[in-house]
Amino acid sequence: MSFTEQNISLWGEDIPWLSGLRQKGRQAFTHCGWPTAKNEAWKYTAFSPEKLHNPQIIHENRHCSADCHCRHNHSPFPFKVYTVEFCNGQLHDENFADDLPQGITIKSLAEAIYDGEAQKYLGKSFAMENFPFAALNTAYIEQGVMILVEKNHQLDAPLYVHYHVHDEADCFCNIRNLIILESNASATIIEHYEADKNAAYFTNAVNEIFLNNSANLQHYTWQNEALEAHHVALNSVQLRTDSSYNSFILQNECATSRHESFINLQQRGAAAEVNGVYRLQNNGVSDITTNIRHLAESTYSNQLVKGVVNGQAKGVFQGQIHIAPDAINTEGHQLHRALLLSNSAEIDCKPELEIFADDVQCSHGATCGDLDPEQMFYMQTRGIDENTARQLLITAHLQEVIEKIPQQNIKDWFLQLI
């Protein structure tokens, strides 16, 4: 029995548009199949179903006792956040959202679907045939939240979205969120994936993000899944006039981790900053893939991705910048720098620039190498042992990306994590 033939009964099959959308997702996924090396967008990150241990959507909160911290608006941060909790892929929706400021709505995706609000957005930001896992995600749409910031409103503290998996080897966390910022609205979201114990579960998350004129979203992802877990996430973002999307991911090692950003700068003045850091030391695969589409004039994008790969692990960066014929006066920059610390580790880097407009400023660059022996020697001649010297250089390498985070408290948080 194949993964998609599992007889999972989903709620809302009586809603025609929803069951139609799921059906389309199922068809698109069946049509694309599991991405193999032949699929250009996945050529470095083979992802076969055998790797997944028969994942199941868990409908009840297994192993999650009443005193589990995911029930108690737990936050690891030394600053105020609003919290949304998922446990084993299921939303804990009992107690969030009661202290939110005016103009901010957070509700379960189910509620947004029954309200009819979700219909306008769900599945509208990308074409499923290009994103096999997002198609799969669509086939199983159930869990997720809708976050809406109304016109001219600000979320005054970050929204912390915590995805927590207990010791559940077969768990399939299929998360679909809608994030909508109306004109001149702003918000900060910190997504955090983590597990109690090492387990081979599967996370497949899709965020559809809609930023209206002059809206601003700061989007942080702290991916700290279990070492044996598989993780695929897509951020599909649509930006209107003068809106901005600023993202950062800290990608820790798991069996396979793919973090993909599909960003459409649809209208004049839209800007995106897509930065990330990955660290691998065993035999995991870490993939950061971006596709930034400059579809209008005076749009801006910048990407800085840095990695450290050791052991037998593999780091992948694929960065596509597309500049449409009308998108004059645009700027698109991309830089990937990786440290390759072992002979059996691997880095694959694929920059792709498609420029159809004149009068654009574009740059891309990639470096891959070992730690600088002169720097190592200099430190050692000051008595700093080899291991500490390596750590200092690795931290320095990654720190440059984190330094770009505009919010001091969040920057400090990520700095102490590396």
Binding site: Q375, T381, R382, G383, I384, A389, L392, A396, Q399
Partner: protein, 252 residues
């Protein structure tokens, strides 16, 4: 009785196929100041790097003892914590590592080796303030990434600051005076003189009499083609200043 700090005997070393140090011998005792002078490309920096443990060089023969231990068996960081310091001719920039943080790691590595309690941030800052003020190093410079965008003179003062913080038994100063203006040279020379006492020693690699006028060497060695060709006292340096190397290198 003289107590040796460094004893190099018949040392030869090469980089790849190129033999750079050839049958070099030198003993440095406690309290002594040695100056090593020689034309460009003679192999002075290579000698300094070999003593500090740089991996690119292969020692083909000879022995090096430092405080009675076989130096070749020690990693660069062990040599440093045991009391060998190299002020580099070309200090290395390390983007992303702040100078103060770097110095704290260095000081605490040495303290750990000496089984002293490591300094906390406040204690270290106090020490750093005192030492950097003496070398005219502004606090702002210590916040910057180490050697990144530093001028030649700033780099050299920072090397001397590190020497002062680490209080080595043997300081090898490879062109510590290059690129310094008159005032900076005086400050650096004072820093070196304040370190020197009867229990430690200096090996000063220089081209200029100016530095040796401020730090009086007990011995001046002329180094050419990988070894010492002549040893004398400070007068030898004065002679060099007058006539250049030609009298010393021609009969080689």
């Amino acid at each position: 009785m003289l107590t040796p700090i460094l004893e190099v005997k018949n040392l030869s070393a090469r980089a790849g196929d190129k033999e750079i140090i050839k049958n070099f011998s030198l003993t440095i005792n406690e309290g002594e100041i040695h100056a090593l002078m020689g034309p460009n490309g003679a192999g002075k920096s290579t000698l300094a790097h070999v003593l500090a443990g740089k991996p690119n060089y292969e020692i083909t023969s000879g022995s090096i003892k430092f405080l009675g231990r076989d130096l070749q068996q020690m990693k660069p960081e062990e040599r440093a914590t045991a009391g060998l310091f190299l002020s580099m001719q070309y200090p290395v920039a390390i983007p992303g590592v702040s100078t103060a943080n770097f110095l704290k790691h260095a000081v605490n590595a040495k303290r750990k080796y000496n089984q002293q309690k490591e300094l906390d941030a406040a204690e270290f800052l106090k020490l750093l303030r005192t030492e950097s003020a003496a070398l005219n190093i502004p606090a702002e410079m210590l916040k910057r990434e180490i050697n990144v965008g530093f001028s030649g003179g700033e780099k050299k003062r920072l090397e001397i600051l590190q020497m002062r913080l680490l209080q080595p038994a043997l300081a090898i100063l490879d062109e510590a005076d290059s690129g310094l203006d008159i005032d900076a040279l005086r400050i650096v020379a004072e820093g070196i003189n304040r370190l020197h006492n009867e229990h430690n020693a200096l090996l000063i690699i220089t081209h200029h009499l100016d530095l040796l006028n401020q730090i009086t060497p007990d011995f001046v060695h002329i180094y050419y083609n990988g070894h010492i060709v002549r040893t004398g006292d400070k007068k030898l340096a004065e002679e060099l200043e007058e006539n250049g190397y030609k009298n010393f290198v021609e009969n080689e």
